[in-house]
Amino acid sequence: MLVDDVPHRRVHRWTHLRQHLAGYGFLSPWLLGFFVLTLGPAASSLYLSLTDYGLMSAPRWVGADNYMQIATSDPRFRAAMNVTFTYVLLSVPLKLVFALAVAILLNRGLRGLNWFRAIFYLPSLIGGSVAIAVLWRQVFAGDGILNQVLMALFSYEGPSWIANPSTSIYTLIALAVWQFGSSMIIFLAGLRQIPQDMYEAASIDGAGRSRQFFKITLPLLTPVIFFNAVILTIDAFKAFTPAFVISDGTGGPIDSTLFYTLYLYQEAFTNFRFGYASALAWVLVAIIAAFTALSFLSAKYWVHYDD
């Protein structure tokens, strides 16, 4: 579709040549970046993933050993998978539901829509910063705001949610859900696309509110839901900063916040096991690719594409 963008209108030969040159000239920064920062390193990390490589020695070929170890005898990998999947599988649906629910509420023609939209979007914009992770540590600490509020309202003395391995991951999920705003904005844009006359026609046919929601709103929004779900899932797999700051880089307590990317970071930059970490990286790429492929395969069963 790109090639047809430029019409072949009496383009002279020399102009042609000039176009080729100009094309590559303008593309050259990207091309350089592509080879030096993407293609080369990608090939190199594939190779490194098949070696044993630390700071002190040259890479030593070990074949699929790293991958074997990951698959069969790495308890921390299993912990990281557990944490990451819990995080992805809980935070993404919760975020979607929240984003959609609030978008629908806002779409009822509330006054001050722009204000609310901005307020809900703010956390998405700043949510990945260290400051917010610091704040989150405070909110869910033993003497944090959450427990203060619980005490004031219900006289309930809450635990330290961060220091408790069975609740720490949920503080990070809460942090993710708190950032539902950007998905909500995309939902709002999607809701605006639904033609009003469909609702009018449905009302005339006697369809009630909930029926309208399930028969019109939801089906017509499925492409947007799909899009949001894919983007959020990929992002969730790559989450790093909050877990790092909240656990002081350890993924603790007892690996309960050991996000996959955090484990990868530790292997690469604290243990300097570059070969093993490269293998971990490619496993992550494969997982994300598999998830994305599955979503696209599933799309034809539930995503409603009009015309």
């Binding site: 970046g33 260290v130 995309i186």
Partner: protein
């Protein structure tokens, strides 16, 4: 997007009141931690945990003074580092991504579709796949512990997302303008500078603001590339401050947290519409 307060589904007043209450409640819960952070940064230390009130009984900027000089290097220095890095990233992204987007939309050259497909492919590839060799390469160049690994890639259009964003916009610029310029004997360079760029200020502004915010907020790259505290960004400084103060000086920690968010907040207030439209039209992350 203009404010169209159409009553979408003919809600009854009661239902609408309920929606209003629900939205208000959600906004309050969402904003409360942020407001608490800002207000606590102006409270004396002993007041922070003794009350959930958002209004300081005693107003003091003491925590800011303690925090600003809380590390061996002043936070001012780290803010300067962050600003330099973020501004260079903005320039790099604008220059390199607009060039690539121009090549992809306006110039005809062999292999264009091929490179375009690869460019889309790089957007899908998680950075982790290239992280370690990139690090080793920059280590070899002697670039570790300098800002070069954080800045130079931006001049090589590494954030393909912005290329994509600009392509969408450039496609909307009428081709008649280029053709008229060609008739007047303008070459690709002149068309780029005299027609495309001047008409693209909205998308350039969006890309600039997002570049700044994302670079300012970035934690991972500075974490692996910067070692000396004099070279730290504000994000790294804040994280070091967490370690240094642990639980002992929450006031100072919250004050510095507030300060690191402030530049983003200002950009958010000024460019709110631009940012929200950017999200709505492209589905950009965050």
């Amino acid at each position: 997007m203009t404010e169209t307060t159409v009553d979408a589904t003919g809600s009854s007043p009661l239902l609408r009141a309920f929606a209003y209450a629900a939205v208000l409640a959600v906004s309050f819960v969402m904003l409360y931690p942020l407001l608490w952070m800002v207000s606590s940064s102006f409270k004396p230390e002993n007041e922070i945990f003794s009350t959930t009130s958002l209004i300081p009984e005693t107003f003091t900027t003491d925590a800011y003074r303690r925090g600003w000089n809380g590390l061996s290097v002043s936070f001012g220095w780290m803010f300067l580092n962050s600003t330099v890095i973020a501004l260079l990233a903005v320039v790099g992204n604008l220059v390199s991504c607009s060039m690539a987007a121009y090549a992809f939309t306006r110039l005809q050259f062999k292999g264009r579709s091929f490179w375009f497909a690869l460019m889309l492919g790089t957007m899908m590839l998680p950075q982790h796949a290239v992280l370690i060799p990139q690090y080793l390469m920059f280590l070899n160049f002697g670039w570790v512990n300098t800002i070069l690994p954080l800045v130079v890639p931006k001049f090589l259009a590494i954030d393909a997302f912005f290329i994509f964003l600009m392509i969408q916009f450039f496609r909307g610029i009428p081709r008649d303008l280029d053709e008229a310029a060609v008739m007047d004997g303008a070459g690709p360079l002149r068309i780029f500078f005299k027609i495309i760029l001047p008409l693209s200020t909205p998308v350039l502004a969006t890309a600039a603001v997002f570049s700044f915010i994302w670079t300012w907020d970035d934690f991972f790259a500075p974490l692996i590339y910067l070692n000396d505290i004099e070279k730290y960004t504000a994000q790294l400084g804040l994280r070091t401050f967490v370690d240094a103060t642990a639980q002992s000086d929450w006031g100072a920690l919250l004050a510095m947290s507030t300060l690191t968010i402030l530049p983003i907040f200002i950009l958010f207030v000024v460019f709110q519409r631009l940012l929200i439209e950017g999200i709505a039209t492209t589905g950009m992350k965050r």
